[in-house]
C-alpha cells in the first residue's frame, strides 16, 4: 500500500500506522457487531451448560431444588449396579455406532467423492441425489425405514422374498444381533452425502499438477491416490472424523424413531442420549433432574475431552504435511 521509494521514512511510518488503524475496527464497533451473537450464545449455550452443571450437584424433589448433594448424583452412574451397567452398555453401543459409521459412511463418502471428482457426466445430479436424504428429518427417516423393515408390511423383506432370497428376509429391527448394524446402515444412508461433500471440496483444492507429475513419473492410479491424494486429504479426514464422533455420540432421533425410547430389542440399541432421555423425561423419580444432569455432564466431559484430543492429534498429522 505505502510506497517507500522517494518518501521520507517518517511519513512512511505514519502511513503504515494509519493504514493499520483503518484496517482494525474500533472496539465499540466490534462490541456492537458481536453482541447479538454473544447474547444468543450465552443464553442458549453458556447458561444451560453451567446450569446443568449446577443442577447435577444438588438434590431435587420434582422441580424444587434442595440442598447441595456433592457428587451423589454422579455416584448413581459410577457405583457398581444397574445404572452403571446401563451407562457402560449405552457407551459401548455409541462406540460401535461410531466405528460402524466410520467404516461405512466415511469410506463410502470418500469413495463417492473420488469417483465423482473424476467423472463428468451426471456429477451434479449424483451429488444432489446422495445429499438429498439430509433434507429429511432423521425422525422421518427412521420412521420410514422402520415401516420398510417391518416384518408384517415392510417392503424390504417382501422384496427379498419376491426375488427368491427368502433366507435373507431377516427380522432386521427385532434381532439384537442385527438391530444396531441396521440402524448404522440407515443412519449412513442418510448422512453419506456429508463426508462426500467435504471430501469433494478438499479434492477440488488439490492442484492437478501433483497427480500429473506423478503419472509422468510412472505412478499407477492407485499409487497416485495412496501417495498423493490421500495424504493431502488428511485434514478433511480429521474434520470428518471429529464431526462424526460428536454426531454419533449425540445420536438419538433415528434410533428413537426406529427402536423406541428403550433402544429395543432387549436394549440392544440403547445409546447414551436415549439413556439421558429416559432418565430426564420418563423417570418417575422425584430426583430425576439431578440424575439426568449428572449424566449430561459426564457425556459432555467425555465428548469434549475426546474431541480435543482428536483435534490435537489431527493438528500434529497436519503439521507433518507442511
Amino acid at each position: 500500500m505505502v510506497q517507500a521509494g522517494g518518501v521520507s521514512s517518517e511519513r512512511a511510518a505514519r502511513g503504515r500506522r494509519r493504514s493499520r488503524r483503518s484496517r482494525v475496527p474500533s472496539v465499540r464497533l466490534l462490541v456492537f457487531l458481536l453482541a447479538p451473537a454473544l447474547a444468543l450464545y450465552s443464553v442458549f449455550i453458556i447458561y444451560p451448560l453451567f446450569s446443568s452443571l449446577q443442577y447435577s450437584l444438588f438434590s431435587w424433589a420434582g422441580t424444587r431444588q434442595l440442598g447441595f448433594a456433592g457428587l451423589e448424583n454422579f455416584e448413581r452412574w459410577l457405583q457398581p449396579g444397574l445404572y452403571r451397567e446401563r451407562l457402560l452398555r449405552a457407551f459401548g453401543h455409541n462406540m460401535i455406532f461410531f466405528a460402524g459409521t466410520m467404516l461405512l459412511q466415511t469410506t463410502l463418502g470418500l469413495a463417492f467423492a473420488v469417483l465423482l471428482h473424476r467423472s463428468r457426466a451426471g456429477k451434479r445430479f449424483l451429488q444432489t441425489a446422495f445429499t438429498l436424504p439430509h433434507l429429511v428429518s432423521p425422525i422421518v427417516v427412521g420412521y420410514l425405514w422402520s415401516l420398510m423393515l417391518s416384518p408384517s408390511f415392510g417392503a424390504v423383506n417382501a422384496g427379498l422374498r419376491g426375488v427368491g432370497l427368502e433366507s435373507l428376509a431377516l427380522p432386521w429391527t427385532g434381532d439384537p444381533a442385527l438391530s444396531l448394524p441396521t440402524v448404522i446402515v440407515v443412519n449412513a444412508w442418510q448422512w453419506v452425502g456429508f463426508p462426500m461433500l467435504l471430501f469433494g471440496a478438499a479434492l477440488a483444492g488439490i492442484p492437478e499438477e501433483y497427480g500429473n507429475a506423478a503419472r509422468v513419473d510412472g505412478a499407477s492410479a492407485w499409487q497416485v491416490f495412496r501417495k498423493i491424494t490421500f495424504p493431502l486429504l488428511i485434514p478433511a479426514i480429521g474434520t470428518v472424523s471429529v464431526l462424526t464422533f460428536v454426531g454419533n455420540m449425540n445420536v438419538i432421533d433415528v434410533i428413537y424413531a426406529m427402536q423406541g425410547s428403550q433402544g429395543q430389542p432387549a436394549g440392544s440399541t440403547d445409546v447414551l442420549t436415549l439413556l439421558f432421555y429416559r432418565t430426564a423425561f420418563q423417570n418417575p423419580d422425584p430426583a430425576a433432574i439431578g440424575q439426568s444432569s449428572a449424566l449430561a455432564v459426564l457425556m459432555f466431559v467425555f465428548i469434549f475431552g475426546v474431541s480435543m484430543l482428536a483435534i490435537r492429534v489431527m493438528r500434529r498429522a497436519e503439521g507433518r504435511l507442511r
Binding site: P48, G62, G81, S152, G174, Q190, F281, D285
Partner: protein, 439 residues
Amino acid sequence: MGRRTAPRTLTRNSASQISRSLLAAGCAATLALTACAPSTEGGSAGDTTKLTVWSWRTEDIAGYNKIFDVYEKKHPGVQVEFKAYKNTEYPTILQTGLAKSSGGPDVAQLKPFGPIQAFIEGGNLTALDGKVDLAGWPEEVVAAAKGKKDGKTYGVPFAIQTLHVLYNKKIFADNGIQVPTTWEDLKAAGDKLKKAGITPMATTAKEPWVMGLTHEIFGATRMGGDKFAQDVVAGKNDFTDPDYTASLQTVADLKPYFPEDVTAVPYLDAQALFSSGKAAMYPGGAYELGPFKKADPGLDIGFFDAPLPPGAKMDKPVTPGFADGSYGVNAKSPNQKEALELVKWMATPEFGQLFADELKQISAVPGVSPKDPLLAEMIAKYRSQGEPYSMAVHFGYGEPLGRDAEGEAIASMLLGKMDAKAAGTKIQKDISAWFKPEE
C-alpha cells in the same frame, strides 16, 4: 452425523476451525437438552373467575368444552378454559407450568402413579384430603393420585382402562370359532386360525410396555394376581418366584400365535394387523377401541378375558385395569376455592356420565356406566372381577419402570435368549435398582 456445512474449498486452517466451532456447538447441545420449555398465561378478570384446565388429550377438546359448558351454567361467575397440549410434550410443559409462581394451570391433568410423585414432593399440588370426598372409590383407583411418601390424595381419577383380549367377531364366525373359555380352546382357536392363514394374535414385543400388558392379560391368574404383587411390596416374595416366572412362560408359550418376528413388529403395525382383518385377536386395553374404530368403522369387535392357563393360582379369569390419570389443583393457583370446587364436581356422577358419554371412555366415578355397549360391558366386568394392573399400581415409581423391565425380559424369552428363570432374575435385578420392599 448431524451438521450440514459444506465449504467450497477446505484448506488446512479452515478445516480445523470448522471442526472446532462445530464441536463446541455439538457438545453444548448435549447439555442444553436439560433446559427450556414454553409457558402460558391465565388468571381472573372482573367478576368472573377464569379457571384454566391443562390436559394432554388434544383429541378430547370438543368433548371437554361441552362438559365444562354444563359446569359453567351451574356455576355463574366461573369460566373454565380447557387447554390441551401434545401428549409427548405435556410432561415438560406441565413441569414448567406448575413450577411458575403465576401463569400455570389452576387444574391439571396428571399422569397416574409414578409421574405424579415428582409434583407431590415438589409441593406443586394441593392435597385434597378432607376437601374432596372419594369414599367408596376402589383403593387401587385412588392410588393413582396418592403420594407414595405421605399417603395423601392429590387428584381425582378420571378414567379407568380395562385390559382384555379383543377379537374380530367376523373372523371368529367365518372360521367357526367360539369365544374360548379354556386354555385348550384358546390354543385350538390359534391353531385353526393359523391354518387358515390368519395371524391369531396381533401384538408386538418391540415395545416393552405392550408385552407388560400382554403378560398381565394372560399371566395374572398364573402368578396369583395382585396378591403376588402385594407380597413383593411387603418383602415376602420377589420376581424370582416360580409362579411368577411360570406366568412369564405362559406368555412366551403363545409365541406361535403372535405375528412372525414379533420383536421387530412396530406398535402401529400390530394395530394395523388387527384393524385390517389380518389378525383375529388383539390383547390390549379399552383405549384401543377408538383407534380401531377410526381405522375401520365397520370393524365388529368383541372381547373376552383370558381363560385360566395351566397351573393357574386363581380359580376364575380376571379383568385387569388401572386408573389412567387424575385431575389435581395447582398449589400456586390464586383461585384455590374455585379450582377445588371444580375437582369436587369431577368426582360426581354428573361429571362421570358426561365424561363417559362425550369422550367415550370409562369414567372412574363409581356407578357410572358409559352409553357405548362394549365399554359398558368392559367396566361391568371390571367391577365384578377386576384386578389391579400390578406393574402400574406397585412398580411404576422408578426407572426402569416395572412394566418395561418385564416387557424387555419377555422379549428376550421370545428371542430364545433367556429362559423363564433367568427372565425372573433379570426383572428382580432391574426393579431392585430403585425398589425397596417395605420393612
